[in-house]
Symmetry: C2
Subunit: 763 residues, 2 copies
């Protein structure tokens, strides 16, 4: 591939890397405006309580305080996605310890903070529910009075004749798994600046993954038109799905700004990021797998009970992914999944890298190893035997236009086996093992409006440089660099001649946003099509200027030349200079709206609904200290079918990041809640992977040349995290013979599993 | 016309009127950024002097001062338009009292001001030239060493056989006229904020008429690519041609910002606006007119000597207009003009409403009255006899696709005669008279790159509102309102559903800028074409949604309906909601680059080079106090052929403004220079018209339905000022029998002219 292309398929430094590493890039908290106030939010200390009264008088009279608001100051609108169940400030009662009760705008953060302590709220604590299972029990306290049984969402998805298939299987296995509540822990806490323009429009600065969704939701929460809101996106310090959607603080800042007539900034503290953001949807998963003796996987049944927390946002959609996607990893004949999303008095749950799919992969990919071992088969062979392949239509109707799953399994398994350390050491205290796990995911998906497109605009400048506009945010993953590479490649101009503009809903073409690993595939495709259109315009212009048929012209390294007589040439800059704002009146601007050629799903969620599907496999080698229960991940071989790597360096970066984040989820991260109150709301008590904990990683890029994505590319954002926990679980079993079914795999759990006799003694 | 249209041809309040009158609109000086510094410029007190040394050490060490720069800190680039003759800070010598010598950036305006006083400059005064005539004398001091004879530009433009025609005339008259140096005196002093983005691009905020020209020129002055500069235009508090082009302070602010790493704001003081901005090009005009006894004007000869001041900017172009445009008012058979633009040690001259054309109109339209009176003819009849008409090709090749000159003369003359006061009163002390003068001007013109186009983008939002993007600034004349009306009309949506975006060179499509009275005609046409394109897209979408042929659909009041079955309907908002970010993947965005169908001029400036030509006539009634020489303009009947009045209220506003500004120029405004030093650099010593001085104005809108402009519209910005001084001069002669040939008509001049015996005594 390298010889064919000049800008894609080559390692590119992120175009904004210099700004970022020198500290010059401006994130939300670097922005400030004259007269700007600082907003702070008063949060409930109770997981469930009636608000009997709020007295803001002491707070309002504090020097420097410009506004104190409660729900009485807000439009009485419940907003949200599938379940609009949240007011921007609590009405009548609070539903989790962290719920928004009141807000303050003041001239300094200190004054705002002090004002919070002067707001007197009278609470009447209510009985609460902390476990989905207990919340579903008839008579349990209701989180929302209009949600009987605390049910936020139920799915029952059946394909084929499951009961018949199970009856025909040689072996049927059943297991239960549990996943934990974790936070994305992006480096930059989420925040907003809101300001009402003199013309009555609202400007919102926020480092959000989807500016256009944000615009619509902020408008909805405020009861105004979307076109009355402008969302501007500064640099984003990581998102991982946690910044796809708005939070309550977005409309709260707008209300404070309207009340004070001044810009208001709210940036969450790290503590608020823990207690009052949206955690990964934790789920209890019962799995039943029917297999034939030769290792053929026939059918699958799953029952999921997931913790919605106090408010739904994307959790229903996440539950859907959890209920379906892993069925498209293997050639199952049938499946049935019943899943329930249950309100509790916990922190709300929502999107986080993998978006539900990661949870079920932990269950299924652990299950495959469990079953293979029980049947005396090689888990890698079982995976290869059942893996879906290019050309397949999966159980849920995905059309696999490209699929490198088998190659990924082969390569990851081979790489992790090669050079592995001896299984045992130091008198048996240190045990080592390897494990493999697979994954599948989407590159985009048709959402509620049956749309999965993106738009792009490109515009040549009179000096030959190209401006690229997209509505898809770069949250640090390198989207802008990929867009620049695609445009540079399509146009034959140097990467440095492409300027990718920041996202601004008044300017950027509509983009759905950076999630579902869709940005390269869908946003990049829109950029490619726009660049090709502007190339046609440029060649037509150059043909006129050079008195030559455009068909004979080609562009390379910023030079337009006659293919048959390469001495006849002019630079792109010369053509632009001669064509823009001259008699030629060349537009040299293209605007493209692209929607991938997929059909979406029917009302039963069956159908081909992503422009491309990602596959991958990780092999990991772990080391378990049997005396402490401590696990170290030594090596990871991460093979990913990315279709085509537009920026291989960026793909390797995604792999490193996904492995780090997946390992943290597997081994150490966990929100510890006690009666609904978070016990570890800080980075010193909530443990993240550090550079010292990182394994040696071997990224393996598998290219399958997807027919839909730009230059054959597919997404890679989420996939790299998904197989990590099950691969580690499988490796731990390989090392010490114990199977861990609940995340995270803490030293304590491993120690107790390895020493069951001590577990008894501990009672 | 009124019944045919819903949004154009109707009085519309300016869409930003509420913001402006309530003080909420944000002008440049309302903007502030964190860490922003204030810049000030040290200016030469000498009209001509060698700089022997600059010591910045005392200034640089003053508390709060962050940078002090001289030419040594600037790229050694001479920039400008036809004559690139200026450095951003003086190199070696200063050329006028006001020339930029050094600049300071400090934490406050006060500190910057104080620092200026601490910069020690050693000057060696040089002999200077203050009059173009003396500057051309061999051996005169040179303003620029590379400009021999101090000549900035010479034109000789000949059409037909002038000498032969003069020989055949019944009467030949010769007169001399002089126009004065005046400043536009817009309400908002010009200014800039410059800031270097972390990615190395320069952002410039400035209330400029042409953002894209500004971008190119700032880049040129700094030696960088245009695409490395972004120009953002906040509200503009008037421009009148004085804010078309950048000033030295623009790149100076950029250099200060680069040196300090902080945003730097420079806003001129009112004094700087007087001493160091660009004045109207003052000219001495010798005019020779050949006529037949019946009043036929046959031929014309002109000799112009114009004051360029110390630096050229647009003055050469202005001299060209001065040399040509009035020849297209009447059916001359031939003409010859020789014009010279001469460097002096005066403040530089450049564009101001009328752009040269106004100066020559003063001369010619005075001349017509002088000649008619001498021949015993009615000046109005002479004008009507000679007036060009629709379908004419003028002496310089203008193709008059629409021309309402005769109608304007008729209506203005009739209106001013109707109800006129008695010619004499109060024992002969107060004398009254009426006068008429005509005008022609362009609506756009093909500039240096043989381009006169504009681009527009329109984009529907999901709630049915429309965003309109144009690169043409609204300097207060109501361009945004006109664009909104045009888009609303073309789309059948309410005016309130159109949002016109601010000008930003990173966002707005290319526009040449607001000058040459081109915005409605050319910018508005681009908006119209883009709106029509998006209308086609919308109807295609609605046809799909309504299962109907788009041809049968129409849009009115925001509703799309079936022409043959009007009950079948959906709102524009419903169509947008159903089409944007849905399976329909409707673009609903149009981008149009428009260049009017004119051919431009040949190398001898002959040809059709404006999309439309404006004509008009003013009748004025004045009252002269023969004891004081004071003139009062009592009434003005101002008839203007605007093609079609998109916003009649806006046209009437332009007429009021043009009359006020033209009357000020005629009667009181004047820069009084003594040895190159301005004697009246303030609004208390430089006298402007006030509301108390305003005549009663009768605006007469003449519509000729121009075939090129949008809905038949032509420009009206500059035309309304142009006929005012000659009409007043003609009315003064009518009142008191004296002919004034030099602007302004001060009481002193009138008194002396009315009392010639006292003039002698005064000697």
């Amino acid at each position: 591939m390298q010889t064919k292309h000049s800008a894609v398929g080559r390692d590119a430094d992120f175009i904004d890397a210099a700004e970022k590493v020198t500290g010059r890039a401006r994130y939300l908290d670097d922005l400030s405006f004259p007269g700007m106030l600082h907003g702070k939010i008063l949060r409930s200390p109770y997981p469930h309580a009636r608000i009997k009264g709020i007295d803001i008088s002491r707070a309002a009279s504090l020097a420097g305080v410009k506004a104190v608001i409660t729900s009485a100051d807000c439009p009485g609108i419940r907003f949200g996605l599938d379940n609009p169940d949240v007011y921007m400030l609590a009405v009548d009662k609070v539903r989790y310890a962290g719920d928004e009760v009141a807000a303050v705008a003041a001239v300094s953060e200190e004054a705002a903070e002090e004002a919070l302590s002067l707001i007197d709220v009278e609470y009447e604590p209510l009985p609460a529910v902390y476990h989905p299972a207990e919340a579903m029990v008839p008579g349990a306290p209701l989180v929302h009075e209009d949600k009987p049984g605390n049910i936020a969402k139920i799915y029952e998805i059946v394909r084929g004749n499951v009961d018949e298939d199970f009856a025909s299987c040689d072996c049927v296995f059943e297991e239960e798994f549990g996943t934990s509540l974790v936070q994305p822990c992006y480096l930059e806490p989420f925040g907003v600046i809101a300001d009402w323009e003199p013309n009555g429009r609202l400007t919102i600065w926020t480092g959000i993954q989807s500016a256009f969704h944000a615009r619509a939701e902020i408008a909805k929460a405020l009861g105004i038109d979307p076109s009355s809101v402008t969302v501007k996106v500064p640099y984003i310090g990581g998102g991982f799905g946690g910044k796809i959607w708005i939070r309550n603080f977005h409309p709260i800042a707008a209300v404070l700004a309207r009340k004070t007539g001044r810009p208001v900034k709210i940036v969450l503290s790290r503590e608020e990021e823990f207690i009052a953001s949206r955690a990964r949807v934790a789920a209890g998963i019962k799995l039943k797998l029917g297999m034939m003796r030769d290792g053929t996987m026939v059918c699958k049944e799953a029952e999921i009970i997931a913790d919605n927390g106090a408010y739904s946002w994307a959790a229903p959609k996440i539950l859907l992914n959890m209920s379906m996607r892993t069925d498209c990893l293997y050639r199952f004949r049938s499946s049935r999944t019943v899943s329930r999303l249950v309100y509790t008095n916990h922190v709300p749950t929502s999107g986080f890298r993998g978006y539900g799919n990661a949870q079920m992969h932990f269950a299924l990919e652990s299950m495959v190893d469990i079953c293979a071992r029980k049947m005396g088969l090689d888990p890698v062979e079982v995976r290869l035997k059942n893996a879906v392949r290019s050309g397949d239509t999966t159980l849920h109707g995905w059309k696999l236009r490209s699929c490198g799953l088998s190659e990924c399994i082969d390569k990851a398994a081979a790489a992790i086996k090669e050079g592995r350390l001896p299984g045992e050491e130091a008198g048996g205290r240190i045990r080592r093992g390897v494990g493999v796990a697979c994954m599948t995911h989407v590159s985009g998906n048709r959402g509620g409006d049956n749309f999965d497109g993106s738009s792009a605009m490109v515009r040549f400048q009179e000096d030959g440089r190209l401006l690229v506009y997209s509505g898809e945010s770069d949250m640090g993953q390198g989207a802008r660099t990929v867009f620049a590479q695609i445009a540079a490649e399509a146009l034959g101009i140097p990467l440095s001649d492409v300027i990718v503009m920041p996202v601004d809903t008044d300017v950027s073409p509509f983009g759905y946003g950076s999630y579902s690993s869709r940005v390269t595939t869908v946003g990049g495709k829109a950029v490619l099509l726009a660049a090709r259109q502007v190339r046609d315009q440029l060649l037509k212009l150059a043909g006129k200027l050079m008195n030559e048929s455009p068909d004979r012209l080609e562009i390379r390294d910023g030079v337009i030349f006659d293919r048959l007589d390469p001495g006849r040439r002019m630079t792109v800059a010369e053509a632009c200079r001669a064509g823009i704002r001259t008699r030629q009146a060349a537009e040299l601007t293209a605007y493209v709206t692209y929607d991938p050629p997929t059909e979406g799903t029917d009302s039963d969620y069956y159908g081909d609904y992503s422009s491309a599907y990602n596959y991958g496999a990780h092999g990991v080698e772990v080391e378990v200290d049997t005396e402490t229960g401590q696990v170290r991940v030594l090596r990871v071989a991460a093979a990913h079918d990315v279709g085509f790597a537009i920026n291989p360096k960026g793909v390797r970066g995604q792999i490193s990041g996904g492995v780090a984040q997946g390992t943290g989820w597997a081994l150490c991260e966990n929100l510890v809640l006690k009666e609904g109150v978070l016990q570890n709301p800080s980075l010193s008590s909530y443990i993240l992977m550090t550079i010292k904990d990182m394994p040696s990683i071997k990224p393996i890029i598998v290219e399958t040349d997807d027919p839909v994505g730009p230059y054959g590319a597919k997404g890679v954002g989420e996939p790299t995290l998904i197989p990590v926990p099950p691969a580690i679980a499988n490796a731990i079993e390989d090392a010490v013979g114990v199977r861990l079914r609940d995340l995270p795999f803490t030293p304590e759990k491993i120690f107790r599993a390895v020493n069951p006799q001590l577990k008894e003694a501990g009672k």
